[in-house]
Every structure is written in structure tokens, then in C-alpha cells.
Symmetry: C2
Subunit: 265 residues, 2 copies
């Protein structure tokens, strides 16, 4: 099943995505999932929009937005960093989220490398504390795609990632949440203007999402709607005028145009 | 005016805090404030609870939770750090929030210093981007108090602050939002079991909240309900069995008992 958030009548509405249409739902499948199965969240259909006309919003607005940094061996080697010995997370800000199809705005003040990072995203469906690995596996509601857009000069110069990774529009997430996929057996492909810039096995991670959830929930209660971005193996430069697509097989394609600041198009 | 969030009938409800009672409100004053003044948010009273019986929740659940690190000259000198040359923020996680009166739980795994940090918190009431200093001033809806509870061994050892500052219950915030106070002209006092451990001028900051909002909104849209924790001049150790009070004159007292993990009292 594919669940998305779309704009309908000026409101954010959950939808079930079919081949031709998006069925608008009476509520959130994430709030229902503790009581029912993902395929029967007890929601009613309140309308329909043609899929081609849908305005996609961030796949979920998480209560807490977790992000993994160094998690792919090739990326770690590329950064000259040490392989982490335990799973550690950071945070991103919801203010940076944007949906599939919406522009990534490159700030005028960014002069260094401006890059896309293609990431698998786990969307949590259950409340979890002191989880076992199996409980962590069972807690994932579904999977979506994130682009951890980064301004490298700010990333290296600032004390935190506050603007390098959290400026407005720097966190596209979508297009939807896929509940029926073996996410770690897929391939992640990054394209700019249709040209492949990176492709890697999605599951080739130092620690998998369940390892992270076991570690996080030793100290922190994870809740439905929380997201865990899993890091990237490869990145690439993007510039205004480009269209950046991230495909994860079995999930979908997250596509966003890049615009310069001050251009409202 | 003092606005709080309290638990009523198992739900979180906004309230207006008087001397004897908390008047329960039909909605959030933060969502009304773009249209009206803080003193007339256009809300109706739907019930009353005696103030002595109120169960206090975090004063607000912010869309984005900003936190300032080094911002008081004495604290910076104590840390041996350089005085920041521009305002930079980090993030905390809503999962760590708890209300006035609720326990701070010290994890069993924490062996090093476990400390309280008394902080002024600005609560934003307007949507803000590319703000001037005066627009930033006008955007603050009111002020509350935060305790940036920190486990120092984790803070120094981990790559991020994920568990050192964001474990469950590590972010008490409350008891309420005070809209009528000159917050930067107050005194912050930290007490453990009634004994004063620190007292400092609340406004003795390197950069004030408006400086931060000007800098943040160069890159990021700030929205109603966002909070900005302003850092602390002094900290002190806390242990299970203690009660830690943070008073900011003109705002109120945030009081929390400290409990060991595994003790449900």
C-alpha cells in the first residue's frame, strides 16, 4: 500500500495512492496502525484526485526527525572518517521539509558545494521503548525517500548543521510511504536531469534501521510518525535549473527541481 | 497573561492561568495570535480546573525546537570556549519534553555528571522570514522556562547531543507562557531542594533572542509555537531524590523532582 499526504482544498489530507488516482482518506493511517494492520487502517475514502494532478506534501510531518550521518562504508571512506562502532543519530528540522515536485531553493549566500544526498527513510508506526531487534522490525510502518540537501561550506564552517542541512526546502521527502517492500534489498539511484550520478545497494549499511531503533529506544521513546533517515553512500552537486530524482526500487521516485533564491517559479 | 497546557480528561488543553484557577480554552492562543492580540485571542472558556490540581504539560509542543549553546559570557569562560562571533543554534527533540511537576528520570546508564541548565525560552507567535530586529521583537508571543538537563559523559563522548540532551524527560518546559514581562530584565535562579545554586541576570547574553531570530530567519521560516531556548550562565549537579526549581522573576517557577530509572513514583 502507498500512503501520501496531498494538498486538497488548501488542507493537508492523507491519501492512498493508486495507479490512476489518489483516494483521500478520513484520517492518518499512522494513528490507526497501533490498532489495525497497515492494509486496513479503518479509514474511509472522502474523495479522489487524479494522480497526475496531485500536489504532494512531505510524506509525513514527524514528531521527531532522526537522521543518520555516516552509515555507508564507501561514504565513510570517502569522508576519511572512522567507521562508527555504535549507531548514533542526529536531528533535522521539520521547517526544512518539502514535498515531491516542489522546488529545492539554493540560497543566494551559498557559494560552495551544494549537494543532494539520496536516503532511505523508515517511517515508524508504533510506540517503542527498550525495543528488541524484532520489535524494531515490527515497528516500521513503511518506507519513503529523502534528499538530505546540504550546503558544504556552511556544514564545515558552522558549529552545528542548523543552516547547512535545515534551510527552507533542504529536506524533500516523498513521494509517498510504501508499506509493502523489502527496503534493504533495493537499489538507490540518484539522477540529475535524467543522468545517473550514483547508484548503490540501499541496504549496504554499517547499521540497519533496526540497529538504530534498538539503540535510540534504550533512552528515548519513539512514536508513530517519527522518521529515521538512513544516510547516503554517494552525493552529487546540484545547481539551479537542475531536476534531481532519487529512485529507490520498490518505493518510487522523489523528484524536485532546483531553483535560485528569489525566483518564485 | 499566562497561558499553559494542562491535561484534562486525558487530553491536552490550553488554559489561561489565574491566581486560583486555570480556565480551559477552546483552542490555542498561538494559532489565534496572528489575527488578534495576545490578550484577546478570540478563544472561549470551556471549563475550569483549580490551579492546585492542574496537571501541567510542556508549555507548548513546538513545530521546531531551537536551542542556543554558548550564550552567557561567564559560562563561555567556564567552558574555556571562544565567544561566538555570530548567533548559531542547534536543535532539541520534542520527545524529551515534560511538564512542570513531572519527574526528570536519570538513566541507570548515566555515571558521570548529571546537570540542570536553567534557561529562558522565547515562544514565537508569528510567521517570520528575513526579519528585522524590530520584527523579531514583535514576533515573540511570550516567555517560559526550560531546564536543559544534560548527561555530561554522553555529551562529551557522543558525536551528537542525541542522548546527552534528548533522553526521555530531559527537557522540562513550563509552567506556563507569560506574555507580559520584560524577560531580559529579570533574574534567573536555580535551586536544588530549596537551596540556591546559581543566580544570574537573565538578559546578560552575548546575543539576545532577537539577534538569533534575525540570523535564523535569513535561511529558515520560523512559525507560531516554535521555541528558542537561550542557554544558561550556570549549571549544577542533580541526583535522584532532589527537587530542582528554576525561577525567572516575572515569569514563574519550573519545578521537577528527579527520579532514578525504574522507579515509577
Amino acid at each position: 500500500m502507498r500512503y501520501a499526504r496531498v494538498s486538497a482544498g488548501g488542507r493537508a489530507v492523507w491519501g492512498r495512492v493508486g495507479e490512476e488516482d489518489v483516494e483521500l482518506l478520513s484520517g492518518s493511517p499512522l494513528e490507526a496502525v497501533d490498532r489495525r494492520t497497515p492494509d486496513d487502517p479503518g479509514l474511509t475514502v472522502i474523495g479522489t484526485v487524479p494522480r497526475a494532478e496531485a500536489v504532494w506534501l512531505p510524506a509525513v510531518v514527524p514528531p521527531v526527525f532522526y537522521a543518520v550521518g555516516l552509515n555507508y562504508p564507501r561514504h565513510i571512506a570517502h569522508c576519511g572518517a572512522e567507521v562508527p562502532v555504535r549507531p548514533e543519530v542526529g536531528y533535522r528540522a521539520n521547517s526544512a521539509l518539502t514535498g515531491h515536485g516542489s522546488p529545492i531553493v539554493k540560497p543566494a549566500a551559498v557559494t560552495g558545494r551544494f549537494e543532494a544526498e539520496p536516503e532511505l527513510v523508515a517511517v515508524i508506526g508504533r510506540t517503542l521503548r527498550n525495543a528488541t531487534y524484532e520489535q524494531a522490525r515490527a515497528s516500521v510502518f513503511g518506507w519513503t525517500i529523502g534528499n538530505d540537501v546540504s550546503a558544504r561550506d556552511w556544514q564545515h564552517r558552522d558549529r552545528t548543521f542548523w543552516r547547512s542541512k535545515n534551510s527552507d526546502t533542504f529536506k524533500p521527502m516523498g513521494p509517498w510511504i510504501e508499506t509493502d517492500v523489502d527496503a534493504l534489498a533495493q537499489t538507490t539511484t540518484l539522477r540529475v536531469n535524467g543522468e545517473v550520478r550514483a547508484a548503490f545497494p540501499t541496504g549496504d549499511m554499517v547499521f540497519d534501521p533496526y540497529d538504530y531503533l534498538v539503540e535510540i529506544t534504550r533512552h528515548i521513546t519513539v512514536r508513530p510518525g517519527d522518521v529515521l533517515w538512513m544516510g547516503a553512500e554517494s552525493t552529487c552537486r546540484i545547481e539551479p535549473g537542475d531536476t534531481v530524482d532519487i529512485e529507490i526500487s520498490g518505493i518510487g521516485v522523489l523528484s524536485n527541481p532546483v531553483r535560485p533564491e528569489g525566483n518564485s517559479a
